[in-house]
Subunit: 378 residues, 2 copies
């Protein structure tokens, strides 16, 4: 059996991207690279649904999150941080590291903030400079209503900063149309590449704020990066092989059409959720994402063992909960280069594993439902 | 013709590393990855010649340089920065960004600092906390006498911080034996990988200093990374495919023996230098590195055209000077996976290009000398 990843990042990589990453690399100041970069630049604008430039950083998504804080804020700035999982807490930790005043909006893990909650908080704290949140909180499998939230933020003098690391490339995110100020993502999720690249796009008002920010930065200096992007370059030596792979991914999105790909992931996630219900298992996420499904570990079953058995017996990697959710949930991703057959395989294996571990489930019903929803999906 | 890189980073990649980078990736919290990481951890200690742990960061070398400043310093610290080229200036810029008091040791580009100069400066500024310099200043092709300099620093209460980005893996650097406090490097030079990873090793006294440093850091938090390394992990999602490639590179170093590889690069560099002299051309570097050769552009020849012609006619990428050296020098690297035949090819092409551009050189003499010095070197 070939080992398969069903984790919410890293994910299976686009085969054509894997292939080009085994070719000899080119120099990052060469005319060939400038050509690659200009293609990538256009492809990213298509995917981010924006006319703005997208910065390409060589770091994990966390690096891009930190860079975003460093470039938008100044010491003492008041910021709202939505904490509904591990990655919301990370925004808060970064903001606190740099001396910002964090106004937390704490939401039960598994739930999403509403536009009304954000609106109320903006009214209560009128001097807030920015709101930091997720589009998909990977730790819980919950999508946040970004379009709705943006309705309350885009008319105010504050920035809406969206970590779309586990979201972009899977579900529609219309940066310009919705009025999002900053979109951050990484290479190893929806973009079906290995980890190592991160991306940031800023709206015009975010760029205006960037110019006034006084937090010190060097490697993550966005004005330096923007200057380089306009010359189809990066400020520092980039992860060249990943950028070569990225070109293939962006060609793939363009050829298939991003809406087609988004629809496919939506159907995948829906099929997984219905399969979970058909097994009489409980979904953890209240506003579930199309990037992954989070499933409550059934009473009396060792959550860790589900993962170990899937790995040892079926060479399939899924993942458990983080921090307070350790042992309580399992998470199965449908980001990256996955197909209907992959999802059927992992649910077939999951049913057997759960049965082995003593769960009282109607074996076969999950896969049956999954197949029914997936229909002719490839 | 296959395009070939002769730039001082990025460099030709080890074929076996290229191959594994086209395999599907594994999850960074899996037992498989922990196994890979533990092998890589040992291999890096062998290459850095140290008993200390080596941190693996997902960033370019500049990110690791910034991380080093952030983890060792506190605002107002007095530091010596050796500025003998573009990368020495970069240490200075980073230090200034974070409010350190920079005592510059400005050296003419093309020359190296001496141990005596460092000793004199330490005596003059006894409260200096650290010295930042290069092992090889890539912009000029000069190696610094690190072993000699360390003799003056290791007995004082200050840290010797060495950017070995264009040095490690090419020439011997005995971190523990020489008494270097911090070694920084990147993946895309001596390590014959694509760019995207950087590495930092700290001595015990550097770790002690790290604990007292008050500059804020999040992504480049070395204590968090050390904790992760001890569990064969990284703090944040790493550039997994590059780490899989790194394992192959480190196996290669171990199998060949690092000293054998260092001797080979030494001979390559020596052969290139003698070939340059045989062509009556002038070497730019006073204490030339084994990582690259920097050659003065002959009078009346357009330096930029040398590079363009080599690229367009021979598919070979070399590079010119940076900043004040633009148009004045050309640089040819012998880092990474290069062999004697590659060097012969690039010199054959270079001779023809120089002749075409009107340089008065004894065509053929360079390659003849190169072959004589290389002898049976493969």
């Amino acid at each position: 059996m070939t080992p398969r990843l069903f984790t919410p990042g890293p994910v299976p990589i686009l085969p054509k991207a894997l292939e080009v990453m085994s070719h000899p690399i080119i120099h990052h100041r060469s005319t060939d690279f400038i050509q690659v970069f200009s293609e990538v630049r256009e492809g990213l604008k298509y995917l981010f649904d924006t006319q703005e430039e997208i910065l390409i950083l060589s770091s994990s998504g966390t690096g891009a999150m930190e860079g975003t804080v460093l470039n938008l804020c100044s010491p003492g700035d008041e910021v709202i941080v939505v904490r509904a999982g591990k990655f919301g807490e990370r925004w808060g930790q970064i903001a606190q590291t740099y001396g910002l005043k964090v106004i937390p909006l704490d939401i039960s893990w598994g739930e999403a903030p509403t536009g009304a909650q954000i609106e109320a908080l903006i009214k209560k704290y009128p001097t807030v400079k920015a709101i930091f949140l997720q589009a998909c909180e990977t730790s819980t499998g919950v999508d946040f209503p970004i379009e709705e939230i943006a309705r309350f933020t885009r008319t105010q003098d504050l920035l809406l900063v969206v970590d779309a690391i586990s979201y972009l490339g899977v579900s529609p995110l219309k940066m310009d149309e919705w009025g999002i100020d900053v979109v951050v993502t990484g290479s190893q999720k929806g973009l079906m590449l290995p980890p190592g690249l991160s991306f940031v796009a800023l709206s015009k008002r975010a760029w205006a704020r960037q110019k006034t920010s006084t937090l010190p930065k060097y490697y993550f200096n966005f004005s330096k990066e923007l200057k380089a992007v306009l010359e189809n370059q990066t400020a520092y030596t980039p992860a060249i092989s990943l950028i070569l792979g990225l070109r293939e991914v962006l060609k793939y999105y363009k050829a298939e059409g991003k809406e087609t790909i988004f629809r496919r992931h939506k159907k995948y996630a829906q099929a997984m959720r219905e399969a979970v219900k058909a097994l009489n298992l409980e979904l953890f996420a209240k506003n579930p994402s199309n990037s992954l499904v989070s499933i409550c570990v059934p009473q009396g079953v060792d959550g860790k063992k589900i993962i170990t058995l899937l790995r040892d017996e079926y060479q399939m990697t899924i993942i458990g909960g983080q921090d307070q959710l350790k042992g309580k949930i399992i998470r199965i991703g449908c980001m990256g280069y996955v197909g209907a057959q992959d999802l059927i395989s992992v649910f077939e294996a999951l049913e057997k594993v759960l049965k082995t571990l003593g769960a009282n489930i109607p074996v076969g019903k999950g896969v049956e439902k999954l197949k029914a929803v997936l229909g002719k999906e490839r």
